[in-house]
Amino acid sequence: MARPRLVSAVVLAAGSFGASVFYRRRAARRRERVDLYYEDGSMVSLPEGSPAAERLLPIAHDVLHAAQ
């Protein structure tokens, strides 16, 4: 009797974990960001809400609208 309970608990935990990973990745896709790549190979990611991203993202939106 203990084994089916254990299996159910493991399946429930795995399902919860998978659902949380799926939800967090989906939420991350909706967030805006600007990634800058430099000649020395380094990269800077400017998240939505940062001062630099707030200047760049409106320009990006303008480009997207002009291109459609």
Binding site: Y37, L57, I59
Partner: protein
């Protein structure tokens, strides 16, 4: 290879890329697949502004900004600058970033390649008649 052909090849191999504009160092549009010169110019100017603003955004860095991606839920804007030319492209949301950058750089490099010189045609040599003189 001219810009129009390079852009046609690019959009054929990359299904994620939607609109493309190639411009020179002065901002003049060299080639695009966008219908409407005004819209193409707006995209080119926007790309130049993105590079300028981004260049001043991360101050204190020693390296030169080479490329950028602006990701939004509507789609992404990619801008690559190489050897005086800039290519700007828009894609659908959530693209394969590395692949898009590779394709854009390949497009710029194909524009930078000079055409092979045509082979020189040599004029046929005239045979000189040797005069042995009187025997």
């Amino acid at each position: 290879m001219d810009a129009t052909q390079a852009i046609a090849d690019l959009t054929e191999i990359s299904s994620q890329i939607e609109a493309v504009v190639v411009s020179d160092a002065e901002g003049a549009v060299l080639g695009t697949n966008i219908k409407g010169a005004d819209r193409a110019k707006r995209v080119a100017e926007g790309a130049a502004r993105l590079l300028d603003e981004a260049g001043s955004a991360a101050t204190g860095r020693e390296g030169q900004l080479a490329q950028l991606e602006a990701a939004t839920p509507e789609g992404s804007v990619f801008v690559v600058r190489e050897e005086g030319r800039t290519i700007a492209a828009t894609t659908s949301p959530d693209p394969t970033v590395g692949l898009v950058f590779y394709d854009l750089k390949s497009c710029l490099r194909s524009l930078a390649e000079a055409p092979a010189p045509a082979p020189r045609k040599h004029a046929p040599r005239k045979k000189k008649e040797v005069d042995d003189g009187p025997a």
